[in-house]
Subunit: 204 residues, 2 copies
């Protein structure tokens, strides 16, 4: 794919350099595979550019996606020990966020999701990272655990050059409207439909 030339140049008073540095809010949605995988691929690129990467997984299963977590741990170690790439933080809801002191019930998924979002909003305000992956974040939005208007407001008004990628099915329209980049992954064919099982190195 050749490097894209803009079809139009907006009358926004920005120089090409400024426009080039505009942070991206991306949403990967739709029923197909590749939403999270493409987000982690983007994070890999950001890591390579020396950006500080933070992943927040709004998922319950500890097993799922452990492959990416482990690979990014290796990349974060490369940064910490050899100064290659960017710093990496990986947080998952699982049985409580890693920063949380709460030892309470694992069953309050709504509370845990809201706590995750509060933490992210705080980090965005203080510009803690350069590149955020909010993995499976559309589900707590869909289920009403986190207020969509507040999320859109925080994201649209986030300071600095922070990139944010959000994944998950059924992204709310207000989030799509606010996003700069929306890709819908459509499932044309999936091996599990043919009775295959997920396998290590492919599905996780």
């Amino acid at each position: 794919m050749p490097q894209g030339q803009p079809l139009t140049v907006p009358n926004d008073g920005l120089t090409t350099r400024a426009r080039r540095n505009t942070p991206v809010l991306a949403v990967h949605t739709g029923p197909g595979k590749g939403k999270s995988t493409a987000a982690f691929g983007m994070a890999l690129r950001a890591w390579n550019a020396g950006m500080s990467v933070a992943v927040f997984q709004f998922v319950k299963s500890a097993k799922w996606k452990v492959g990416e977590e482990s690979a990014f741990a290796a990349l974060g170690k490369l940064h910490d020990e050899q100064g290659i790439g960017g710093a990496v933080e990986w947080h998952k809801m699982g049985s409580g966020w890693s920063w949380s002191r709460k030892s309470g019930s694992d069953d309050d998924h709504a509370g845990a999701a809201a706590e995750g979002w509060t933490e992210i909003a705080g980090r965005l305000a203080e510009q803690r990272h350069d590149f955020y992956v909010l993995d499976e974040f559309t589900y707590p939005l869909k289920w009403g655990w986190i207020d969509v208007d507040e999320v859109v407001d925080v994201l649209v008004n986030r300071p600095g050059g922070q990139h944010v990628v959000i994944t998950g099915r059924d992204a709310p329209q207000r989030l799509l409207d606010a996003a700069d980049l929306v890709t819908e992954m459509a499932k044309l064919k999936h091996p599990m439909d043919a009775g295959r099982k997920g396998q290590r190195g492919i599905e996780w």
Copy 2:
């Protein structure tokens, strides 16, 4: 996303273990972003599972996707020096494939693409790698530089447990028919449409 349960169990005489180890032929197509990025995300997961990863980029530009190449070089080094993850090879058509002795004209893209495919077919026959990314491979197929029937035949009959992911727009129907997993990336919104320029760490 919970780990999937197959909707049906095929009457193929395979055990669950055998079915779990069935190699995948995946195609990422469609006009949206994320086709290559998701393929590299899958490669990251394969690397983490200790698979030998080989990427073949059927693109002309040396600049494009240099971020992924550099990140995978770091991962390959982790494997070679510390035994973490799998081995990584990265080949791009650019101004001649790295294995090629030809110093001839850079302008014979059709010839270079055909040479790339011949090399890949040979490696598949000898089961050289575990996980192949054939990036932007649909274009030489579309342009008639490489024969689709031959490609499908080689892929469908490839020996062992080799996974193959092919990316690019307008994948030929015969390839889609042969694939186990097809995801179409649809473009709902793209910042370049709004006159933004590509930026380091995001587009490459």
